[in-house]
């Protein structure tokens, strides 16, 4: 009897171990598919010897050097593009966080006519089909005069970030965060004669900091990675952000795979660093967007 029990426990343990082994096998296989293109790109950007495409593909560079990085820096104004991306992302993130944190406050904590209508009208734009949006936004941007040569870089940069500022996801996330702030706190501050702007600045913003960080990072990645709208809008090539510049480089020097792969690595690195450092906020921002 005791023997039987022991063998059952052992069999169960075996099954658990086998399941775990199987789980890890699948996890590793999916991870290899997810990450291999990045490894290939990195190896290619560091390699200086042999053919670019080889059977079987290399897993490590044989003669690693920074030569390809130096080459891509000579081909395109990469430093300038990096700066463009930084400027666009900085102002894009700052202003959209400002807009969303401001607008979400009355939507979460004030009673006024039209509140629900406005909130649902904005939410509806997430699913409302807007196929012609690119065209109309281009027309609007031109009509606003932002592309006039005399406005220079400021006008063109404004034209790029403006459509990204009123983020629906950002508004939604901020409203969710504000809803969990106890209303008694606000009432007490109002009793003390604090203005709404002060309440927003001193109570709402500090308490919503984790969500602000989450949204800020999501928005940074979105702006850093965007290329289609900048390519449509920008007249001056020297105003191209990295992602757009990379496509331009790939179009012009299609055969120089090593230099292009070095450019690609330079485009991804800042995002990956940001992602690894703030991973927790990242996932939280995403989860917040579906819950609620």
């Amino acid at each position: 009897m005791k023997n039987l029990e022991a063998s059952r426990v052992r069999r169960k343990r075996w099954r658990a171990a086998l399941t775990n082994l199987l789980v890890y096998a699948v996890l590793i296989a999916v991870a290899v598919v997810s990450l291999y293109p990045f490894l290939w790109t990195l190896v290619t950007s560091l390699e200086t010897q042999g053919g670019i495409f080889e059977f079987p593909p290399k897993l490590l560079p044989q003669a690693p050097s920074w030569r390809n990085y130096a080459a891509v820096l000579e081909l395109v104004p990469l430093a300038r593009q990096f700066l463009n991306s930084l400027i666009l992302s900085f102002f894009g993130v700052f202003l959209s966080v400002l807009f969303c944190t401001l607008a979400a406050y009355p939507l979460a904590k004030m009673e006024f006519p039209g509140r629900n209508f406005i909130f649902y009208a904005i939410l509806a734009t997430l699913v409302l089909p807007n196929e012609a949006g690119l065209i109309v936004n281009y027309v609007t941007t031109a009509k606003l005069g932002l592309l006039k040569p005399e406005l220079g870089a400021v006008g063109q940069f404004a034209a790029i970030i403006l459509p990204a500022l009123p983020s629906t996801v950002g508004l939604f996330l901020m409203r969710q965060a504000y809803l969990s702030v106890p209303s008694e706190l606000l009432e007490a501050a109002r009793m003390d004669g604090a203005s709404e702007l002060l309440i927003w600045r001193r109570i709402m913003l500090p308490l919503a900091m984790p969500t602000i960080a989450a949204f800020g990072i999501l928005q940074f990645v979105a702006i850093w990675n965007s290329f289609l709208w900048p390519v449509i809008i920008l007249r001056d090539r020297e105003l191209y952000p990295l992602a757009a510049g990379l496509l331009d480089l790939a179009g012009t020097f299609a055969t120089n795979t090593r230099a292009i792969s070095a450019g690609a690595v330079i485009q991804i690195i800042p995002i990956l660093i940001l992602f690894f450092v703030f991973q927790r906020y990242f996932m939280r921002g995403l989860e917040g967007a579906v819950k609620g």
């Binding site: 997810s34 990450l35 990675n225 990379l246 990242f282």
Partner: protein, 308 residues
């Protein structure tokens, strides 16, 4: 709090303050989100080339798309319908992404060593720009690239004369769809993981205790609990599949032989290459109608996302 009714100064002040807070966002949103929806719909009934003002042409653009009325003799616009059919084929990637990401979410929803590292790994493609993704997969699919290396090893391809999957009209669309899957998997995995973690664990355990098989638990407890998440995810995924553009733009440019030419590619080239903004807007409106229909289908299939 004053709820409606009492129209006193305090009420008016709240109104003013509330709209003051929302003004920057609403202002820009009115210009760049609400206006395109209205003006885009109007443009669909006009002829517009950006230089002279839009000229009202009624249903002419739609007649040209469908090949009826004034365009009865010419037949429907083949490029557009060809693109729309490719877009509809593209939607087939949606169920695949959803099934695989639910599976992956269930795999990573366990407390085992290194699981955080795996979750991170799956998320790296999500934060990568399509500009980079397009380049990387272009290299992966190169005639002598890693994908073909595997295919020749599996004897699926002649090693003497390998050709890129992207340059073969029979496989190009599938190859691009795989990239969409590759980039989207981590994103939906995180969303499903959140959905799984909101399901009451004790329900699943109780069912197991009662002698239900793992499949039965999944079918009757986990899946119904995930339904709201499935609705959100499949809706997002369907809308972006029917509007697929970025992947195509960076990888094939609609080729080879139009095999990856999608509806939004048609809209894009009608507007930015042929400068027929009204016609492009009309095509966009038809795509919008199709995507709305598919959205409703999603709603029906997930029973409105009701959890039970």
């Amino acid at each position: 709090m004053n709820l409606g009714g009492q129209r006193n100064p305090r009420w008016a002040r709240t109104l003013l303050i509330a709209y003051g807070f929302m003004l920057p966002l609403l202002g820009v949103k009115a210009v760049y989100t609400f206006w395109p929806i209205l003006f885009g719909t109007y443009l669909a009934f006009t002829e517009y080339n950006l230089i002279s003002p839009p000229r009202w042409v009624g249903l002419r653009n739609f007649e040209e798309l469908f090949g009826v009325g004034a365009f009865g003799g010419r037949g429907p616009d083949r490029d557009f319908w060809y693109g729309l059919i490719n877009s509809l084929k593209y939607v087939l990637v949606v169920p695949l992404i959803q099934i695989l990401s639910i599976g992956l979410a269930m795999l990573v929803n366990r407390q085992i060593p290194l699981i955080g590292l795996f979750r991170t790994a799956y998320y790296v493609p999500v934060v990568t720009s399509f500009a980079v993704v397009g380049l990387m997969w272009g290299w992966m699919y190169n005639a002598f690239g890693p994908v073909n290396f595997i295919l020749t090893r599996l004897h699926l391809l002649n090693p003497e004369n390998p050709s890129s999957l992207l340059s073969n009209p029979a496989t190009a669309l599938l190859a691009v769809m795989f990239v969409t899957l590759w980039k989207g998997l981590g994103y939906y995995m995180v969303l499903y993981l959140a959905g799984l973690q909101s399901i009451d664990r004790s329900l699943e355990e109780a069912a197991l205790m009662d002698g239900a098989s793992r499949w039965q638990v999944f079918r009757h407890v986990t899946l119904p609990g995930l339904r709201p998440t499935i609705l959100v995810c499949s809706l997002l995924s369907t809308i972006s599949a029917i509007k697929v553009f970025d992947e195509i733009f960076v990888m094939t440019g609609g080729g080879p032989a139009g095999s990856t030419y999608t509806a939004m590619f048609f809209v894009y080239s009608a507007a930015f290459q042929n400068f027929r903004y009204g016609y492009a807007a009309a095509a966009g409106l038809v795509v919008a109608g199709v995507s709305l229909g598919l959205g409703l289908l999603n709603f029906r299939l997930t029973r409105g996302g009701q959890a039970s």
